[in-house]
């Protein structure tokens, strides 16, 4: 979540969340924390893939649960074939996973996805 807040230019909020929010926080805990911090956000807990597609289509990305719901990673790309995630334990490289596999893992891990709603970082110039 820290990576996503930074990506959307909310550096102070990212630091606050990093220091105060437990990694074991569930949807209700995180929603309460975001509400307290005044952070705009959206989330689903029903495994709706359209939310992931929207998050990637608008270049915001989103946090998704994996590992049976014990861990959250940042989903930063999704197309019909491949998805890319960033793990907070090592954000230096993308982890590419077949989209079908990722969706199966996510849905088997409570299907929770959440993202802040701010301005995503501009693309690198072409």
């Amino acid at each position: 979540m820290t990576s996503l807040l930074r990506w959307q230019g909310r550096f102070n909020a990212a630091e606050n969340i990093r220091h105060t929010c437990s990694s074991a926080a569930g949807p209700d805990d995180l929603a309460a924390k975001f509400d307290h911090e005044g952070i705009r956000y959206a989330y689903v807990t029903n495994g709706d893939v359209k939310f992931l597609q929207w998050a990637c289509r608008t270049r915001r990305g989103c946090g998704i649960t994996v590992d049976g719901g014990d861990h959250m990673v940042a989903l930063v790309h999704m197309d019909a074939e491949w998805s890319a995630i960033l793990d907070n334990n090592d954000t230096s490289k993308f982890i590419w996973v077949p989209t079908e596999t990722l969706i199966a893992e996510w849905r088997a891990s409570n299907g929770w996805a959440v993202t802040p709603i701010y301005t995503p970082a501009a693309p690198l110039p072409i």
Binding site: G9, F11, A42, F51, R59, T119, A122, P123, P125, I126
Partner: protein
């Protein structure tokens, strides 16, 4: 004793009903409208000095620049920002920088340092001119113009005859030549026989009449 039990049961039921009602309220889902802004352009203003602050202020005070700010993803980036170090420092020629990009990242307008117009109106005019395609950055031209593509391949007629449909089963319908020929022979035979009998009858009849 029975009366106490009744009251206790009533209290438990009342508590359960109240808990259920509140649980229902708490579990109501909030629905937010997700912005479909994936095709928005990006306006980045990068810098940290007084000139940067002045240009940033234009996007609040100048009517048209303010409208542009509201219609795009507006990204004010200071040089202290981690995003600057990761995504802007390697490609900013000077500071401050004003960069307008389409949703794919193609630079529509970019000015840095002393290239940035003196006034808000001037900056808006420069952006408007570039976004109309009148003044593309030289290094952008090759990206913004349609790229030549190979001529479409005209399909050649296939000299091979169309393949026959594959019959995958069933008895093929074949006319029985022997049956047809046999019938014909039978008719001919009967005709000859009738002719023979008739001619013999005529011969016998003429003998008897003699």
């Amino acid at each position: 004793m029975i009366r106490i039990c009744r009251w206790l049961l009533l209290a438990i039921l009342l508590f359960a009903a109240i808990s259920f009602c509140f649980a229902g309220v708490n579990s109501q889902a909030r629905v937010v409208k997700l912005p479909e802004d994936g095709s928005k352009w990006y306006v980045s203003v990068v810098g940290s000095d007084a000139r940067y602050q002045e240009i940033l202020g234009w996007f609040n005070t100048h009517e048209k620049l303010s409208a542009l700010k509201n219609a795009t993803h507006f990204c004010p980036i200071t040089t202290e920002s981690p995003l600057y170090k990761e995504r802007y420092a390697p490609n900013c020629k000077a500071l401050p920088t004003v960069r307008v990009q389409d949703s794919k990242g193609v630079v529509i307008y970019e000015a840095a340092g002393k290239q940035i117009p003196l006034t808000a109106g001037g900056l808006y005019g420069a952006i408007a001119e570039s976004s109309n395609g009148h003044e593309l950055l030289p290094w952008r031209r090759k990206h913004s113009q349609p790229m030549p593509t190979p001529a479409p391949v005209t399909p050649q007629p296939n000299p091979d005859p169309a393949p026959e449909p594959i019959d995958d089963g069933g008895t093929p319908v074949i006319e029985n030549v022997f049956e047809v020929g046999g019938g014909l022979l039978l008719v001919c035979g009967l005709a000859l026989l009738a002719g023979g009998i008739l001619s013999e009858w005529e011969r016998v009849k003429s003998r008897w009449s003699k």
